[in-house]
Symmetry: D2
Subunit: 344 residues, 4 copies
């Protein structure tokens, strides 16, 4: 049994992680921590989990966690993880960070988008960007995994085959993404109140959203050249789900067949479905799946590529468990086989 | 492996059954039928299930189903099941009917509430009312299980301990119940349109809802005397969930302790949680659980007992699988262990 | 022109009041105050009102407000109004309090339900309970109006004709009420977050909700005897609306005709609609209307009387304006004629 | 008083028109027709309007309507209006068509996008495209107004100033638009059911949506050259509202100042608000307003221009009334002054 610790267990992503790991056949939860709720039971905070996980929440003490556990999951505000993780600590436990601190290879890019100091730049080279469908082989054997962001997972996976196969112009890419409200977290903020979110849609973080450089980094790497793109997130009045609608100009001569061929790199992926119909977030809700579809437009010369995920599963906790499975040599699907209900 | 057939597989309850049985380790789906969609793949109708269940849907032919399967689940409009099921058919396969045709012991009561003829009144004695927490021992070894309704499961389970232990007056009981919209089914009805349901709440079927006699039958049996009660359902703008809020006058001298004692009959039940806080439907969403709580009011002399379930799981497909597990001698929880996510 | 002031203008009820008064042909807003947002424009906080009300918000200074205005509306947390209002102040301006401080005639009842001291008990006799359909004649000429609560307006108006005409037993009354989430206010509370409210329903404040004594006071007065009743509120995942479903035992011999007759006391009321179909909150959304309907149940001997309002309009700001219109001798409908959209 | 007729009065747009015109001080509704509900009262279909509009619905007889009314509003499925309207009929009454039949100047473009024959191509020159902020002067004195579509109103108004002032490249424009569900109409379609829409987001009609040529026609006219653009609509789980997020490459040298200057063409428009913060559909809900904002992105060289409207008001019924006001020489705002509530 893998002994697992979670710091930040009562945020939405952390709680989803508790939920998934509670049903994972090869994992034992040994350390659940929550700065806000230390001393309470996890199921006091998430009563849906009564009888499933009634563990007492502890303080966010990463050293203790690393002593007791084989893997420590971090689900913390930006800047905390980079101050906590050290090489010494990684010698005790593997770390899978659901936050942003180790995702960007370049400290300066991190600091300019996150407006906060990075406390352990040397670890940026130690960390691997934990998108298994792209970096699976690099992830194996690592001690520090930077679990990708929700928008980024969805957007990168949708565009990656097109970039990798050089089917689209790499300038002028536009990603118009939409997210459910759990993506805003469980903080008591005015903008997250029911009556402020319900019955409305808005864009936010236009030109400034922090997931932008993460998408650019990964697609640039795939393209072999620097990509600058437009990323616009939206808040949708629903609990879960991300839809990334990506616009790019097709290179001359690209055919439906060549696009199909490009996406066939996912053909053996257990969590990717290339579909004919258009993705809807409800069809991946509660699962670790990515649904991807596309349309060529001969009138405009564009391709519109669309991907859908559950932001808390493939966009956070599910992907973290997928990474854990890789790190520990398990079948990647272990503990992630929950199918979709409908309507959920 | 138990071979299972489902007739009416593309309604919401039928589809939830497909979803649960697809993950059930001891069951194989051998016959999926849908009158409306015969010839199509199940996953064409429920794209969330692509890759999980891509079976071709067949016609609603119960004889073929019973030849190929060990158990046939029926999820059909009122009146169809009673015209299909025969003793001969039951010799080939067990039948678990998610509809109402075999729930009421008295043909006249059925016909007066359902305004339709009952086609096989003799089977009313063959059938067992499939509420495992109350009738577990009678269910074992039966061939025909009448799976309870959603409102009724929630309401009966909430009130049963109080009635059984004679703690409340049996006249004057009021059940004010609230349901998510999936309870109205997948039919293309004006009243089920998004814009007609969203941002509103209403009562419906006031004094006339068909689940009334079913609740009265079961509670009367528990009380040993005829109970007539008030049942009022409501439509809530959410996908899933039922909350039953039950009002009754406490008998003189009843204490908190005696109520606790009464509810302790559920103490070993795998799917019942007696909780201190008030039930919320989100905490049982996607699970086969019933959350129950109560409050005594010394000012009024009333008890307010509240129960919450997922109408498509414990209120339909999950309970049907629980019944199947009992019929076939499996652990009752098999295939039903999905924990709750939050928020879902 | 009536000069109006609002203290607490940025809560949901206060903002609805700004919205209504901005369109009121006989009113001028002269003083808008908000403790949290003093110094900002009202339309910075409610951008939907840009161009309609861009006034600068001021501090909650009731004296200044009363100097500048003819009427001061208070929309403040419990306990503040009773510390602010004095006879001296009432000599400068009429006060319409949307809070609870002056609704209960009995200081002890107030203090035992609200768990806070009442600072001006002598004013409890000065104040009038501002439910125009019942107390219109008493309201005229008063200087201090206690605007009723949202649940109470809906519940009292639904039950009042039955109690007044002695058609129901006054013991055993049960009110099961459901409210949209704006009723919880604009405070940054965990329980008001989108993901904590959406896709769920719950009861709350069972046996302890503060609107209980207010309903009892008014119905007792109508009955000429003390009424103790059961009131249970619920939180519904929608922005606005209250549905009160009221259960009572009919006295022997009561007929449909006598019930119709009882409700005919509302026949000239501009804001009451007695309807045949069942009320739905969406049909009164954005209006000052009350829709009321009922069903007799011969099986149980009960009447189920149902009422629906918009909690922010008839349940708060609209009724406050209705009271202002009465105080100042205007047609009661002035400024309140906004019809219903559908779907809204 | 202007005598008004509405054909198709019980669709969502038609009903909104009834609601607005019921409160319009210069209009009298003389003929309400509904193919599906002829013979019933309007308020039987829209109970929120009881007491406001209880007129009996008549058959869709445009000749009778034109005899009795000064203006006939058509809110009908595509293809019906073009078969109904004639020069003769226009001599009796002005016609404002909320449908698509007279919006496109080119019959072939209409037939290729709508896949249906156009029955009166000669009237395409008679009709005016009823977007007052752009074509106000042409609208005056016309007898046939083609009221713009909802997506198109929002998208054109957002982009028009940029195109008109030649600030953006006219190739490569992308419009990613999001709509509430009332835009799908009141038809009893599976895809409009609550449980199929709620808690999900999807794109639809990708590369094929019929509002595309309408947007292209108007922007091409403004640009003085043919524009081909990408338009992608989405379905959002909310009742009302459209958000158009428009991406374009800025021409070299364009500054914030020049953009501001371009949008200043709206500075005297009663229904346009150019705002600093980002638009949210809730802030225009229930109003005839358009909120517009933009962001320059120096990293990408793009401008992101965003507009929000209420699809049933400025996107349909409100704009139709605005057009009527122009036709009949009234103040454009007459009957359209309803301010925004919040939260609604």
């Amino acid at each position: 049994m893998i002994k697992a610790a979670i710091l930040g267990a009562t945020g939405y992503a952390g709680a989803e992680l508790v939920s998934i790991l509670s049903g994972h056949p090869e994992t034992e939860l040994v350390y659940l921590a929550s700065h806000s709720y230390a001393g309470k039971r996890f199921s006091d905070i998430y009563p849906g989990m009564r009888g499933v996980c009634d563990d007492i929440l502890r303080e966010d003490d990463i050293k203790k966690a690393a002593e007791e556990a084989d893997v420590v999951f971090l689900s913390l505000p930006a800047g905390l993880a980079s101050a906590m993780v050290t090489d010494e600590l990684l010698s005790h436990a593997a770390v899978i960070d659901l936050g942003a601190d180790f995702r960007l290879h370049d400290k300066d890019v991190y600091e300019s988008w996150y407006k906060t100091e990075h406390h352990s730049p040397s670890l940026l080279q130690t960390a691997v960007y934990g998108l298994p469908e792209i970096h699976r082989n690099t992830i194996k054997g690592k001690r520090l995994v930077a679990n990708p962001g929700c928008y980024t997972t969805c957007s990168i996976m949708t565009l990656y085959p097109l970039v990798k196969a050089s089917l689209i112009e790499t300038d002028g890419i536009i990603i118009d993404a939409k997210s459910g409200t759990s993506g805003a977290g469980r903080g008591e903020k005015l903008g997250s109140l029911f009556c402020e979110v319900n019955e409305s849609i808005k864009a936010y973080g236009v030109t400034t959203h922090r997931h932008t450089p993460e998408i650019e980094q990964e697609l640039s790497e795939a393209a072999g050249r620097s990509i600058v793109l437009q990323f616009t997130p939206h808040l949708v009045p629903m609990n879960r789900g991300i839809l990334s609608v990506c616009y790019a100009r097709l290179k001359a001569g690209v055919t439906e067949e060549s696009i199909k061929e490009a996406y066939s790199i996912y053909k053996d992926e257990p969590f990717v479905r290339i579909i004919d119909t258009l993705p809807e977030t409800r069809y991946v809700k509660g699962t670790n799946l990515v649904d991807i579809s596309w349309r060529m437009d001969k009138r405009t010369g564009n391709i519109i590529a669309m991907g859908a995920i559950d932001n808390l599963v493939k966009g956070a906790a599910g992907q973290a468990v997928q990474n854990m499975n890789i790190l520990f040599g398990l079948d990647e699907k272990t503990g992630l086989s929950r199918g979709a209900h409908s309507p959920l």
